[in-house]
Every structure is written in C-alpha cells, then in structure tokens.
Symmetry: C2
C-alpha cells in the first residue's frame, strides 16, 4: 500500500491512516482524544522547541528519520536544563510513500519517545506530490519541557573561568553514517542518534553546576565551542588526544579529508561545568546509556580582551596549537 | 536571490538567512536569544497543538501560507478554550525559492501573529531539493495556549439538549478562493484566513457557556457537526436559509457542483452554546473583527437512541429535510 493524496485530505482516508498507523503506536490517553489541541498539565517555567527533519536517506545504519525526530527535539529541550514532557508530530508525506516504510518510522518514533520519557500529545498529517525521485517524508516535532523553579541559569554566556569542558562521547558517527550510506560505502559506522535524557536528567537531579550545555549537531563541536567562547568572552583550550573518535570514523575521515570537530552528531552533548563538579559529572555521564566514551576534553580561561579576540585552541597530539574557528564553507545538507 | 541548499546547512548561509529575513520580522526578546529552546513563563494547564501547512498556491486572494500558518494553529488553540500564547515556526524551503517570496510569507506571518496576540518563540529552517515544478515552501507551526483554572470543559462530547448552534460567518470562502486560483478563474472571492482571537477571547472573558467549539476547516461544517452529534449522542437540526454564504461563493458552487457545507474555511468557527447565552454570544461574535456575518444556524436535541443513529438534519429552504452525513469521497487536497 502506498500513500495517496487522499490520505492528506482530512477525510476518511486520513482517519484510516491515523487509526491504522499512528494510533497503533502512539496510543496514549491524551492523544486518543484526537482533538486539534491536547490539554495537559503545565508548570510555571517552560522550554519550547521545534525542529523539522528532512534527512536523506530516511533509513540509515543506527537509526531512521522517526528516531531522529524524537532525539533532536528531546535533546534541544534537555540542553535548556528542562525535563522534556510533551512532543507533537507533524508528518508531511510524499505521495507514493510505502506505508510499510512509514510504519517503521512511526514505530521507531514511538519507541524512542518512550525511552526519552515524553508523551506524544498531538499530531498532524499532510500529503504532498512527489515530483520524481523516491518518495520520502518529512517530520516536524515540537516539544515542551518543564524547568524547575530553583534551576540555575544555563546558557552559552554562562561559562566561568576554570570550567571543565566534557564531551559525552565519540564525535562524527551520525555524519559519517549518513555520508557513507549516500556514497554507497560499506563500513561498520552507525549513527549515534539517541535521546540524552538519562545523562542530563541525572546531572540536573544531582545539582551538578552545569554552566552551559549543547547537543553537538550541525556545525559540530567547533561551532558550538566558538559560540560558547564568543558569548562568555572566554578562551577554550582543547586537547586533541582526549577527543573521543572511534577508529572507524577516524579512518573514514582520513579517507575523505573530513574533520570530526566539524561533523554533526545526534546523540552527543558538550558541557561546561564547575571544576569541583567535573569528576562527578563525568561519572554520571559515563554510567548513562549512551555515555561510556565521555571524556574531559578541555578547559575554560576567562581572559580580559576584546570581544572578537576570544578563541578555541586545540593542543594537537604532536605538540602544536591550532585555532578552531567557525566551520569554513558549509556542512553536509540534509543530515537531520 | 534564491534559496540554495547551503541555506539549510546550519552554517553561515543559514545564519545570514535568519538574520536578514526571519529576525527582521520576528524580532522579540525571547526569539532573539537564538537558543534551540525558548524559555518562557508557564501556566498550570496548557493546550498544545501542531499543524503543517502545504497549501498550493502559496499566495492566493485574501492570504498566503504565512498568514494561514498562524491562523490554523492559533484557531486550534482557541477552540480548546485556551488563550494562545506562543508559537514555533518550522520553515521547510524548496531549493530555488525566491527570497522575496519567502520574505512576504515571513512578513505576513509576523503581522498575523501580532494581531492574534501570540509570540513567535523559536524556529527552525531546512532546505530540500526542488524536484521540478515551481519551488515552494512548507511551514509547520506549533502552539501553546494557557487554560484558566476555572475554565469549563469544552469539547465535542459536551453538547447539551436545547443548545444553540452559532456559525461565526460565511461558509466556503477559503476553499473557493484556492480552487478558483488553481483553475485560473477570476472572481472576487477571497480566502477568509483569519485569527479568531478577538471573538473567542471575548466569549471566554464574558463566561459564555460554550459547550463545544470548532474551527470549520478541512471537511467543512458537515464533518464538524457530525462529530459533535456522534460524540454527544444528540441530533443537530440546521436551517438552510440561515446558513451564511456569500452570493459569489453560492454562484461559484452552483457552477462547479460544490456544497458549502463541506467546504474548508480558515477563519470560521461553529459553537454550541447554552440557549440563555446564545443572544449574547452572537452579539460578541458579530462585534468582533471577522464576525459580522455570524448567525444562529441550528439547535441541539438530545434524544435517547442507539449511538450510530444520531443525525445532523438540514431543513431546506424549500421545506424539505436532508440528512447531512460525513463528507462523501475526499476533499480538495492541499488547501491548508
């Protein structure tokens, strides 16, 4: 069975699609009311985010667009220090999409939402013409998280002198997996797409003094740390031999001339923490589901100089120093 | 200037697009932080909704996809009895889209959000390949509304015996405007795309006993009222001569064999109110910006019979009775 324009008309075919595919996996009390708006409990401070997923191919080693759509939005909510609570799903289907392919995405999305501890509260389905190539789909997820009253401020402008920079795991896996699949290269690299709820919720519950936190997606670690340095008027020093990168990704990057520092990930975050809490933070992340390769990768120096002089510097394995600037040129499109 | 794949890469071109087009119109304190999640004040009960807009053509008499993207989401929030507060915007642009066209959509979206009293708190931009035809865009908006502690329950299952059914204005304008534009027919019909905030906020503030409320979009009035009748186990009687339809739409429908009862609108709502409040409700709606043609169109009869026997009946202008069933076949795709 294929998706037809009628599935997006709002009529009987749409109802059938919702019943047969979406309701089957997303089943919960709030969603089952099938109202245009979900009514849910609230909180005095909210985090709100949105993300559209257009990744191609839609299925790749280690994940698919359904899993990615949860990870991206849940991780954005987590990075603000909030506890992700609700997500919405907007499906935009291309005419001719195989219903089995759609069902696999929906199943992954539901499974990942369950793991991340978020409820899918409402959704929307539209169908658009497919203008030639393999029919695909786009998913938008928006999310709402709760922020506790006593939460400390977290943000790129909150880094402090002597903060320790921790990365939650290996760099480059998602980017390399997508690229390899597109190029038809066979290897063992899998996307790292994962919800970071366990690690981050535990950091928050243990009152670790996290000053800034960011998932390392499009633009890579280099882009995130430059934004931290610029917003907090500090320098960040990194140590190349401490940067976790798998040997497969290292080889793949060597072959293609890619730098893992600028590659996108979908299940990694970098944080700047008070030095006295660094050891505990590392141990919390390492004992979480996706954090076994977490490492301290650098530290923060507050130096009084002009705004645009702050730098991210990498101490290379062979003893040199290299400035990590903003990504030069453009990243790979449609990796998320 | 045209949209390129680089605009969706998350790099410098994306930043420039955000600065030059989005920030120019969406300028507000929360959004300007450019964090992946917006942090905002909350409330103990929330309404959450999402909608993707894929309308084609993207510009049409009376509106465009930018305006529609606000109206659809704001109206969904209003229908739950909530006060719309925040919206998110996910833009999915086709490569080659003219930046002037994009800017017009963004300007309309910002203007409509201002009118509706909602803040655009966060957004996302992706670019996808254009596979041949005129490049377009898709917009997803998700929204959060606040529900007051003492709000009465509102929903399709809350209709009561002797309730009065009120429609907020003329039927069929949006659907007819889109269809006419697609067919190249020139006439004076304009889309009714409008945020219903003024009318609905006033109904709520005046504590009108609204039992159910629904914007009359895809599927039309017939579909909404059937859902009301089915959920509340009641009959609904309508009066044809009371149904507001403009003479232009009447003529257009006559020509094409369309029935305004099943046509989609984007700035109309139907409500079921306690009979003692009906007059006041009508006057509140009529004195609101888009409500001058509001009318009492029918009433509710609770009759004790089997679930699937409840009906929406139209008393025709010539004295007959016609059962208004669910829409037969499918509606026009991509009208929203």
């Amino acid at each position: 069975m294929k998706v037809t324009m009628a599935h997006g008309s709002g009529g009987e075919s749409t109802s059938k699609l919702i019943k047969d595919v979406f309701a089957k996996y997303f089943n919960n009390e709030i969603l089952n009311k099938l109202e245009d708006s979900a009514v849910v409990g609230g909180c005095s401070r909210l985090a709100i985010t949105t993300d559209s997923f257009v990744v191609t191919p839609i299925e790749f080693p280690g994940g698919n667009i359904g899993r990615l759509a949860v990870c991206g939005t849940v991780n954005d909510l987590l990075m603000s220090g909030s506890k992700p609570m609700y997500i919405t799903c907007g499906f935009i289907l291309e005419e001719g999409l195989d219903l089995d392919v759609l069902e696999r995405q929906v199943a992954s999305l539901a499974e990942c939402a369950k793991e991340a501890g978020v409820t899918i509260v409402t959704g929307d389905t539209k169908v658009i013409e497919n203008k030639g190539a393999e029919p695909g789909l786009i998913i938008n997820t928006s999310g709402v998280g709760f922020i506790s009253e006593d939460a400390q401020p977290i943000g790129p402008s909150c880094l402090e002198d002597n903060d320790v920079i921790i990365l939650s795991g290996n760099l480059g896996d998602h980017h390399a997996a997508i690229l390899a699949k597109r190029m038809g290269i066979e290897n063992n690299i899998k996307s790292d797409a994962a919800p970071l709820s366990e690690a981050v919720n535990n950091l928050m519950e243990q009152k670790i003094r996290v000053h800034a936190m960011r998932d390392v997606t499009r633009g890579g670690l280099g882009t995130v740390l430059n934004e931290f340095a610029e917003s907090s008027l500090c320098d960040i020093e990194l140590y190349e031999e401490k940067l976790p990168v798998s040997s497969e990704v290292k080889d793949f990057c060597g072959l293609l001339g890619l730098d893992p520092i600028y590659m996108g990930n979908e299940g990694k975050f970098v944080l700047s923490v008070h030095p006295d809490d660094a050891e505990q933070a590392l141990s919390i992340i390492r004992s979480s589901k996706y954090g076994e390769n977490a490492a301290v990768i650098g530290d923060v120096k507050k130096i009084n100089r002009a705004t645009d002089m702050h730098k991210v510097v990498l101490n290379t394995a062979i003893g040199g120093k290299r400035v990590i600037g903003l990504m030069y040129g453009e990243g790979l499109p449609r990796i998320c």
